[in-house]
Structures are given as structure tokens and as C-alpha cells.
Symmetry: C2
Subunit: 415 residues, 2 copies
């Protein structure tokens, strides 16, 4: 019977990594290819080498620690996450998964167990998108385009500066593709970043899929006018339609799209009124609308209902509406085989588990189209993430890592 991970050694790693880029309030600041992130990568590779694992850095800057199979042309089972953080983020998001996977590789190495796959622990670059977003995993999947690098969400200057600090080139990013036939699967341990597991007291979440996202810029067009001389009843105030949409979009989603097992969300994160003065009636109101759903069919239905609601709220106040697509991504179902491997692992450890959807994006989105990909979630206190207040109980971190260990063996076909 396989032993469990070494929780003490794992804890030591966790505390050491949390010191790199520490912000002094319990959080870390390690945007991709910042000096703190590069230091974290170096520290992590050294730690892997100490454990007798092979290390490599690919042409995209992704760092790996490898426990080779005795069969040289065996496929590779990837286990990973990321060491980069959002600006002033927490110390669990990403870091937990990378260190858990390293601990799994060390435990497997010590156990001397026969492995029909190479185990490759991988620390993907720029998962958080301070530069491009799930950059390292897209590069590995071969889905990164030169176009994305020309207009990165963090700005071109930040990308160029990061590449220079890391010694990575755009050509290197575009050449980091791996042959899918060389892969046996991908598993990632991550904090939930939502309140469901903690609220329900369930230690393990098995991710069914990652929600799809669509975003639009809605602009309500009214008539800017003098806020003192224009009678109330004769105004064509763009803010009224926008405000009505903010309220009714939420009501619509709460009422029709909030099933517990496949919840949808809507957010209006930005509103800009023009010209934007105390004494001028808003002639324009621009909203940033985003919505998410686990299934494509739901996403389509949400889009149809939200955009017609926007039209209705515009007409209600005599406004014109224009709609601009601001991009998004399709829902990503995760592998049934990987889910079964995780469930069997949790069962073998007598840990209660449930399935859920991830409302946030992850590197698994890049890998799922290529190879069986799975994710294991552990509870996040109050569902807080991307914040120094992000916190998970240590016992949950250890339990999640043991599930990762056994799920990896299950997925590799080791009985």
C-alpha cells in the first residue's frame, strides 16, 4: 500500500515559497516574471534538484521537475499549477498546486513504485494574466498566437520587459508546443476560490468543468443636456437605462440561472457616464458586462436573455443601445476519466467529496482539449481569493495533496 505524502516537508516548502515576494500582510506579490516570481522559480527548481528530480525550463519559461519512468518512451503525466500571483495576491493560489505536485513526485520517488509514465511537475508561467493569461499552458498546448502577443491584456510594454527579465523570446513562446501524443494527462490541485466546499463542510471538490465566459460593452445613448434647465420629464438620461439593466440583469440570473449544480453568474464591473459632470445629464452610459456558465447551451441562453433585457431597458427610457463584443472563452468540460481517478482517490482516503464547476479560469483550459485533464479543489475560507486574506486550512491542503498523489497513480493506471 502506497504511503502518504510527507506533510512536514510540504509545509516547509509552503512557508518558504510564501516568503518570496511576501507583502507583509499574509499575501504575496509575484506577477509573472517580476523579480520575486523569477526568484520563486529559481528556488523551486533548486528544491526539486535537491530531491533528485530532473529539472528543465522550456522555451516558454515553464519550469519542470521530472521523475522519469523506466520506460524511456513512456507518455508524460503532467501535475502542476503556477507560482505567479495577481498583484498583491494570496499565498495559496497556484503556489499550493505547484508544491503539492512536487511533494507527490518526491513521495513517488521515495516509494520506488513502478511508473508506466514519466511524472512531470510543471510551474506554468503567467497563469494569472498580468501579461497574457494562461500563457505557459497555451504555449505548451500550441494554441498561443502571435496576434495575442501583439496586443496582450497587460500591455505590450509589460510583456516586453517581462520577456527580457526572464530571458524568454516570443519565438520561444511560439515554439514550446508539445506533441499531445506524448501526454498521459494533466492534474492540478487548487483552492476553490469560492465558498461552496467550506460552507458545505466537504474537504474535496472534483471539478466537472470550467465555466465559459462572454463579455460585452453595452452603450446606452441618450441626450446630454443642461442639468438645471431641462425639465425632469423631458430628459433622455442614459444613466437610467444602464441602472435598470444593472438591477434587472442580476434578478434575471438569480431567478432563472442559479441551479445549485450548474450556476451561472453575471457581473457589471464598470460603468462610465459621459460627459461625466455634476451639472450635465448623461448622454452616454457605457457598461462592462460579463457572464459565465458551465455549459455552452446555458451561455447561449444567457446571452440571448441579457442582450434582450439590455434592449428593453434602453427602450424603457427612450434610449438607443449599441453592443460591442468584448471576447470570451467557451466552457471547458474536464475529463470523465480524470474525475473518476480523483473520486476513487478521495474514496480510498475516506474523504468526502463532491463535484462542482470552476467559476475561474485555469491552465487546465489549455490542456483539456489535448489530454485527460482533471482538477481537485480544497475549501477556501469565505471563498476569498486574489487577496492577502485568501486562506485554506492546512489539513485541507494535506488532504488535497494525498488525493492528488493517488489520483495521479489511478490516472497512470497503477493499481
Amino acid at each position: 500500500m502506497l504511503s502518504l505524502i510527507n506533510a512536514e516537508r510540504f509545509r516547509e516548502d509552503f512557508d518558504m515559497l510564501a516568503r518570496i515576494g511576501a507583502t507583509g500582510d499574509g499575501g504575496v506579490h509575484r506577477p509573472c516574471w517580476s523579480p520575486a516570481h523569477l526568484e520563486a522559480q529559481r528556488w523551486w527548481l533548486a528544491r526539486a534538484a535537491e530531491a533528485g528530480l530532473l529539472t528543465r525550463t522550456d522555451s516558454a519559461g515553464n519550469c519542470s521537475a521530472i521523475l522519469p519512468s523506466s520506460i524511456s518512451d513512456a507518455p508524460t503525466l503532467l501535475l502542476g499549477s503556477h507560482t505567479d500571483s495577481v498583484p498583491n495576491g494570496g499565498r495559496f493560489d497556484g503556489a499550493l498546486g505547484v508544491l503539492a505536485a512536487l511533494e507527490v513526485a518526491r513521495t513517488l520517488k521515495e516509494s520506488g513504485i513502478y511508473l508506466p509514465v514519466h511524472i512531470e511537475v510543471i510551474d506554468f508561467v503567467d497563469e494569472e494574466g498580468t501579461l497574457v493569461g494562461i500563457l505557459g499552458s497555451k504555449a505548451l498546448a500550441g494554441t498561443l498566437t502571435a496576434e495575442e502577443l501583439r496586443t496582450p491584456r497587460g500591455g505590450r510594454a509589460a510583456l516586453e520587459a517581462g520577456l527580457a527579465r526572464a530571458g524568454v523570446t516570443e519565438a520561444g513562446l511560439l515554439a514550446a508546443r508539445r506533441d499531445p501524443a506524448s501526454l498521459a494527462g494533466y492534474l492540478e490541485l487548487h483552492i476553490e476560490q469560492g465558498p461552496n466546499l467550506a460552507r458545505r463542510g466537504i474537504p474535496i471538490g472534483i471539478v466537472r468543468g470550467i465555466v465559459g465566459i462572454r463579455s460585452f460593452r453595452l452603450t446606452y445613448h441618450g441626450q446630454a443636456n443642461h442639468a438645471g434647465t431641462t425639465p425632469m420629464a423631458q430628459r433622455v438620461d442614459a444613466a437610467l437605462g444602464a441602472a435598470a439593466f444593472v438591477l434587472t440583469a442580476r434578478e434575471l440570473v438569480l431567478r432563472d440561472f442559479s441551479q445549485e449544480d450548474a450556476p451561472c453568474t453575471v457581473n457589471i464591473g464598470q460603468m462610465r457616464l459621459e460627459p461625466g459632470a455634476f451639472n450635465v445629464i448623461p448622454g452616454k452610459a457605457e457598461l462592462a458586462l460579463e457572464f459565465r456558465a458551465p455549459e455552452s447551451e446555458q451561455l447561449n441562453r444567457l446571452e440571448k436573455m441579457l442582450l434582450s433585457l439590455a434592449e428593453v431597458t434602453a427602450r424603457q427610457f427612450g434610449l438607443k443601445l449599441t453592443v460591442e463584443d468584448a471576447g470570451g472563452c467557451a466552457p471547458t468540460p474536464l475529463s470523465a476519466r480524470a474525475q473518476a481517478a480523483c473520486a476513487a482517490a478521495a474514496d480510498s482516503l475516506a474523504l468526502a467529496h463532491t463535484t462542482l464547476y470552476s467559476g475561474a479560469g485555469h491552465d487546465a483550459m489549455s490542456l483539456a482539449p489535448l489530454t485527460p485533464a482533471g482538477m481537485i479543489f480544497i475549501p477556501s475560507r469565505d471563498g476569498i481569493s486574489h487577496s492577502p486574506r485568501e486562506y485554506s486550512e492546512w489539513d485541507d491542503c494535506v488532504n488535497g495533496t494525498n488525493v492528488l498523489l493517488r489520483a495521479a497513480l489511478n490516472l497512470a493506471g497503477v493499481s
Copy 2:
């Protein structure tokens, strides 16, 4: 019987002034002390001198054309408005009143009528507030403070540049006060800037008073969070309270404060959500609230009801509210004597008239506390102003100027 003004000469003036700073779309761009505004002042003084009027520029930069009484120590009846415009404004706002007053002075000079007052036509600087707001009339009233010049609404740099171009000093602005005992009154012809006269088909409006204004910055405080992983029912979204306020504040004012004879208005001209991203639930929503009422008692009642409505909409969505006073001004009742002088003038010309309040600020606000002040409004097409589309019928301009002529004589006590 007094003759009427020379409509042809007046029209010639109007067309010439509209060419100075013309924007090519029917509007003008003459912010205070811009090159175009300084050119307009010079042209206007030359035009007044051609007509045999005395001209002077006071230490604040206000330009005057004077038709003296034969009694040297007679008080002065001021007739005026302003030649400055908002950026890309219309050609009627201000310009009409200055040219109408000049035409009145010329008509009076030609008539040889006995005048118990000096007639002073005055072009006040910076009525529009691209620098300070009703600057010239405040300087003349002696109510301008050094403090206002330190933090002008247009920014300190713009004020300093304007002063340098005009050859005016801060000391000059603060020394331009006139003795109220030297004044016999103030009359101004202006476009309504609202739709009431045009809609009702009434050529002359006699202004009862200028509304008071109060403004506040309201901030709704919620909790910023991940827009994908936070369930809809558990969000503390600051945008919801702000949106509910935008809708209900309007409903409140429409229902309880919209009597035809003394209308109140409310405007939310700005909304800022923080942090302001597609994928982050707004943790903060900041609103720019302004409301206006003709009477102080109404203004107090409006403030009380709107601020408690803000509190209610915050609590409705579990938010905290903070309120910051952003200044304002008290309502200005205009002189009953001046109103009677205007009404008698309109009656003598068989022009229908009505009383109304001004929802916009004017230089009469500075003068009303010192001397009998009155304003005559003419219809604005569709109520549009501060726009190149601002328009009044020429017949209405001529009628308003004839009313100004007779109202001046009535107020001066010439029967």
C-alpha cells in the same frame, strides 16, 4: 412715444460677433480670455466707440460701453451679459444679451431721451466658469475671494494663463468692487436654455429667481470579489445600491417635486465603479449627485429626502454609504420691481409673457443682493444650449431686446 431698436443694425452685430471663434458648425468656441474671447471684447469695444458711447475696461477685465446721464452723480443702471462661451458652445448664450444691451444704449442715445441714470452696458468676464464662474460679476459685487482664485474650477494653470493673456492681475480682480449705492439696477436678456417658452409659444419670460444648487459625492461600499467564483446570492455589489438610487431619485423628484411653477431637478452625472474590471464585482460605487430648487425650503426638503433615499438603497443591498458635500449655492430671488418693469415693458409691446425660474446660473446671482436685478428670457428651440445646435428665432431676439429697452426705462423711472 419711444421708438423701437434698429433690428437690422442689431442683426449685423450678431452675425459679426458669431464669426469670432466660429467653429464652422453654427457654434462658437470662446472660453474666457482665449484669443477668440479677447478678440470679441476688442471688437465689441470698438463697435461701442463707433456708436459714440464711452468705453472702459475695469481692473477685472469686464468691458463697458457707457451712455452717461446729464446728471453726473446719477446712479448707474447696468445692462449686460457675457461674450465668453463654454467650449464649443452656441452663438446666442451671452452674446445675445451683450449685443441687445449695446443696441438699447444706441437707441437711447439716438432718441435723445432724458436719462436720470447712467446707462452702462457691461460684458462680464468668465460667466461660463471655464476659469472660476461668474467671475467678473463677483469681482464687481466684491464677493470674490482670494481662496476661490487659489482653487479655481478650471484649474490654477488655466487661470494664470488667462490672466496673463488678458493683462489682468489677481489684485485687479479683487479690487474691482463697485459701491452698491452707485447702482440703479441690473437687467439682462438671455435665452431660456430650457424648453418651456418654446413649448408654450410665449415670446417673453420674466425670471422670478435663479434656482439654488447643492451637490454631493455619494459612495456605496460593498466588497470587491471574483466575478466567476462568488455565487450571485452572496455578492455585496456596490453597483446595485448606486443603480437603485439613480432610478428612485428620479422617481422621487418626478412624483413629489415637479410642480410646473417651481420645478426641482436632480441629476446623477457621474458614476465610477471600483476596481472597474469586467471580472471583478464592484467594491465601490461613487456617484456625483446634484439637485436644484427655486426655494431654500424645497432645497432643504430635497436634500433630506435624497440623502435618506441613498441610505435606504445602500441598506437594501447590504452596503455602507458615505456622503461628501461637494458645494452649491443658495437660490437667488430676483427683484419684484425689476420683474414689474419687464412685465410693463412686454405689455406695452403687446407681447405675451409669463414668469419662470432660471434653472441655470447667471451673473444676476452676483448682482441681486446689491441692486434690483431682473432677467428677460426668450424661447430656445428644443431647450438646447451649450451646444452649436442652440437656436432662437430672430423675431424673438428682437422682441426681447425691445422689452429690455422699455424695461430699462421703466426701472430708471422714465415714464
